[in-house]
């Protein structure tokens, strides 16, 4: 979304967007899957944002979570495994007024699509990426994923995973993403807040959501669920209220502090780890190239431009 759109959300053309309008196919997820809660949170986010219906794009790669676009009644698409981000970059750069949301899992984001995550992030393409991390390959029925912890038994690691798993938050911070947050599928209000802030961020925003696979990795995230005996710790963000205790709070613009949060022992904290509001988006930089090129050619018509180019080749 553009900066101006943020300041004044466009009024809805017809009826306000509601969950009812935004609901499409019935989800194919297993009963109890964490992804249902993420879907619900996304409906609520869209209700709050009230973007023009036709300008919302919901996009995904392959995986359980990547079925998402079928369940949201917006323009959208279901692409190939791991490559949703570069496709979505094309949507965002090709239609600067569109609001692009990409959904995927840990396999899509950190394994087959790891390279694309790095480069879409470093280019700061304006879009929001929600990673639903269940630490297992669910659609293919329990193989080791890049975030599976050591010792986790799967069909591809019957004696337990032996490879060092990815630290998602550290990886995301390393990509140069300009908005990095972490949430949990059992905390709907927190998810809404995180996705909403990500959507309003002018740049590449990513929210990592722990979303349990009840079928193949039950109890994976119990340690961060209070009713199951876990601890739910929020990132204590700086309030800039001048109080002495504020000095100890987390400054979301401080990259080193964000890395320290990412290095905390499991299950760690949830909230916004990092935010860079200064870096220009690729959308803006490309638009500047167009403005500069048009100024140089004095806004000549396409025909006149190409004619002049060919004339130089006589």
């Amino acid at each position: 979304m553009s900066a101006t759109a943020l300041a004044t959300p466009p009024p809805p053309a017809g009826a306000p967007l509601t969950k009812k309008i935004l609901t499409a196919d019935h989800p194919t997820w297993c009963p109890g899957c964490g992804d249902f809660a993420v879907l619900h949170a996304f409906y609520r986010v869209l209700e709050k944002l009230q973007y023009p219906h036709e300008k919302i794009v919901t996009f995904a790669g392959i995986g359980c979570s990547s079925r998402f676009p079928y369940f949201v009644n917006t323009h959208g698409g279901h692409y190939i495994h791991g490559r949703a981000l570069p496709f979505a970059a094309g949507i965002s750069l090709g239609g600067d007024d569109l609001h692009v949301f990409v959904f995927g899992g840990d396999g899509d984001g950190f394994s087959i699509g790891g390279n694309h995550l790095v480069h879409t992030a470093r280019k700061n393409v304006r879009l929001t990426y929600v990673i639903m991390d269940n630490s297992v390959y669910g659609l293919t029925k329990k193989q080791t994923s890049p975030t599976s912890p050591i010792g986790f038994k799967t069909k591809t690691d019957p004696t337990g995973a032996i490879d060092q798993p990815i630290n998602p938050m550290r990886t995301l911070l390393n990509t140069g993403a300009t908005f990095v947050a972490r949430s949990h599928a059992t905390q709907v209000n927190h998810m809404i807040e995180m996705i909403l802030r990500a959507a309003k961020h002018d740049g590449f925003s990513v929210v990592e959501i722990l979303s349990e696979c009840v079928e193949f990795y039950e109890g994976a995230f119990d340690s961060s669920i209070p009713r199951k005996g876990g601890t739910w710790t929020l990132v204590d963000e700086k309030k800039n209220d001048g109080t002495p205790e504020d000095a100890a709070r987390h400054d979301t613009s401080d990259e080193v502090a964000a890395f320290k949060l990412a290095q905390q022992a499991w299950p760690g904290a949830f909230g916004v780890f990092f935010e860079n509001k200064a870096r220009k988006t690729k959308n803006a930089l490309e638009a500047e190239l167009v403005v500069a090129a048009k100024a140089k050619t004095k806004n000549a018509s396409d025909l006149a431009l190409l004619q002049a180019t060919l004339a130089r080749m006589r």
């Binding site: 698409g77 279901h78 570069p86 090709g94 569109l98 140089k296 004619q307």
Partner: protein, 625 residues
């Protein structure tokens, strides 16, 4: 071809002084090092050709592009149609001993050897050629003087060539000024000093080698517009712009890179953008993302990169997303011969994906056609909502040709995406119509927004496992390409309407194929040449043409494979089940010489069971060529 020196006057026997001899064309090979700027000699000659009233044309090949190493440049200039780069050189300009050693075998007996006598010592007693020693290095240093050392040798040689072939000096001087005008004034001055020195080299040292190209009227059907001069990659890039393409994505790979470089610089001027991606897969994906927003986009690569794009191209077929994919073919497989030509990606282009993916594959025949093929590809992609592959190659990418400036006012396509509201009857995948996607930004009257998908789907884009729907949707994707086939124009056919041999070519083999036809016919063999621009789907009705010839010889630069047929030949045999279809192939990484085609065709006629009925006379005539 009438050559500067006929084979009957070999051995450096000086011709009597006299007026310039009239010739139709000449092949000059310049051999030196790549930093000597010998390629710019070709560039000047090509642009002169483009501006010449005599309709001179040039062709060039760059067999080696290793920076700083030995490099050659071959120019064929002449009046009328020049169809191939020439089998053997009429004149060799050797800058160094290694140039002489490596390329003297390319000079035909009776040809002219011009060499830098400061560096080259030809074999003693070799009287096969006319030897013309010229101290190119010291001649240049003396002319230019100062600190420029031997820089300008190339321009000295250009002057020499201009004198020998009576080229338009005023136009060449103008071109030199244009080329170097933006730089230091001394560069233009030094260049002109070098040019003049070469041009004025004492006549008696040139052994009276003076020629003039035959003057001809401009070819009938000429547009009257001035000619433009560019290479095939430039022609493709500007063709895309004229065809209304404003978005693209790519990853660097030889010989595709120069297209993406041009588009990266040009698209912003037209309000678009080209993205350099992290890899080939991201490039095709980003391009598909652009296309999804309603703006037909382009990606491209060479063979290895095309392989990486294949999964995404399967998605493009399934989701029926329009897309342009350029593959500038080079020698394969793997890294292969990255700066050589090959036509070995045909099967990959047509079939190289998973599942049933009916594709559209086109191939340009020359540099000019690179411009127009972009239009045809864009038209088909938009009209049939499908990916379209353009198979060009290293030879087209790197050679420069002059052609009539395209009629841009009538050609330019306005690329605005259609974001109009879609009515209540909108379906993304109607079974009875060709898909017309609604891009994001377009309202849908029903309030039900579409999903573009790689899963098999129903008419609304919902996933389905229905056997009936998969059958119907597979047929939908197949039938639209068959509808395209039915609408295609008849392919270009030259020569006799029936007879012994039908030559079939695709891509850049068009030129040597056409020239081979002329030679074969001049030997008294009834023959024709069919060129395929639309390779997949094939235009309808080819079987009717094939039945009119005893032998259908498919000429392509790829391997004969396990079963003895090149890639197009294999496909034609499968499609038409016609045993008269045979192959002439090669894999030396070079464009076809006309003589190679004639020899290959001759073998097929000789070995044919129909030999007796064809008459021995024609065979012997062909064999002599």
């Amino acid at each position: 071809m009438v050559s500067p020196n006929s084979p009957e006057t070999p051995g450096g026997a000086a011709s009597p002084a006299g007026p310039a001899r009239s010739i139709q064309d000449v092949v000059i090979r310049l051999a030196g090092n790549s930093q000597d700027g010998i390629q710019s000699i070709g560039g000047f000659l090509a642009r002169l050709a483009g501006r010449s009233d005599q309709d001179i044309m040039t062709y060039m090949t760059i067999p080696s592009t290793i920076s700083g190493g030995p490099s050659i440049f071959q120019v064929r200039m002449g009046t009328g149609d020049i169809l191939s780069a020439g089998d053997r050189a009429d004149m060799l300009v050797a800058f160094y001993q290694h140039s002489y050693d490596a390329h003297i075998s390319s000079l035909r007996p009776g040809g002219v050897l011009v060499y830098d006598s400061d560096h080259v010592k030809p074999a003693e007693g070799d009287n096969r050629f006319t030897h013309v020693p010229i101290p190119i290095t010291t001649g240049t240093v003396e002319a230019v003087g100062g600190t420029s050392k031997d820089k300008g040798k190339n321009i000295f040689v250009l002057g020499l060539i201009a004198r020998i072939f009576d080229l338009d000096v005023a136009k060449l001087a103008a071109l030199i000024k244009e080329r170097f005008g933006g730089k230091d004034e001394s560069i233009v001055r030094n260049s002109m000093l070098a040019f003049d020195a070469g041009y004025a080299w004492p006549q008696n040292n040139l052994r009276d080698l003076f020629f003039r190209f035959e003057a001809v009227d401009r070819i009938a059907g000429s547009t009257g517009r001035p000619q433009v001069t560019m290479d095939g990659n430039q022609a493709l890039a500007y063709g895309l712009i004229a065809a209304g393409v404003r978005h693209g994505a790519g990853y660097p790979i030889t010989p595709w890179s120069s297209i993406m470089e041009t588009l990266r610089a040009e698209f912003p001027k037209y309000g678009g953008l080209f993205v350099q991606c992290e890899d080939e897969i991201a490039a095709v994906s980003t391009a598909l993302g652009f296309s999804y927003t309603g703006q037909l986009a382009v990606t491209g690569s060479a063979g290895p990169g095309l392989s990486l794009k294949m999964e995404a191209l399967g998605w493009a077929t399934m989701s029926e997303m329009p897309l342009l994919v350029i593959n500038v073919q080079r020698g394969g497989p793997s890294t292969g011969m990255p700066t050589n030509v090959e036509q070995s990606d045909l099967m990959q282009a047509i079939y190289g994906s998973h599942g049933d993916t009916p594709r559209v594959v086109l191939a340009p025949k020359n540099v000019e056609d690179c411009f127009y093929i972009a239009f045809e590809a864009a038209r088909i992609a938009r009209e049939y909502s499908t990916p379209v592959l353009i198979l060009t190659d290293m030879a087209l990418a790197s050679r420069i040709e002059a052609f009539d400036e395209p009629d841009l006012p009538t050609l330019m396509v306005d690329p605005k995406p259609d974001r109009s509201e879609r009515g209540a009857d909108f379906k993304p995948y109607p079974l009875d119509k060709i898909t017309r996607h609604a891009p994001p930004g377009a309202k849908i009257a029903t309030g039900k927004y579409p999903t573009v998908t790689g899963l098999e789907h129903d008419e609304m884009g919902h996933p389905t496992g229905s056997p009936k729907l998969h059958t119907q949707m597979t047929a939908k994707r197949r039938e639209k390409i068959k509808a395209l086939a039915a609408s295609l124009p008849a392919p270009e056919l030259a020569g006799d309407s029936a007879g012994e041999v039908l030559l079939v070519t695709w891509g850049s083999t068009w030129g040597p194929g056409r020239e081979a036809l002329n030679r074969i016919k001049s030997a008294g063999v009834t023959a024709a040449h069919l060129h395929l621009r639309h390779i997949h789907p094939l235009p309808n009705g080819l079987e009717n043409i094939f039945t009119l010839f005893h032998r259908i010889v498919v000429i392509e630069i790829n391997d004969e494979g396990l079963y003895g047929f090149g890639q197009l030949a294999m496909m034609l045999r499968a499609r038409y089940a016609n045993p008269a279809i045979v192959s002439v192939t090669k894999t030396d990484g070079l464009t076809f010489k006309v003589s190679e085609i004639v020899t290959g065709v001759d073998k097929h006629i000789v070995s044919a069971t129909l030999k007796a009925s064809l008459g021995a006379a024609s065979h012997s005539a062909l064999a002599k060529l």
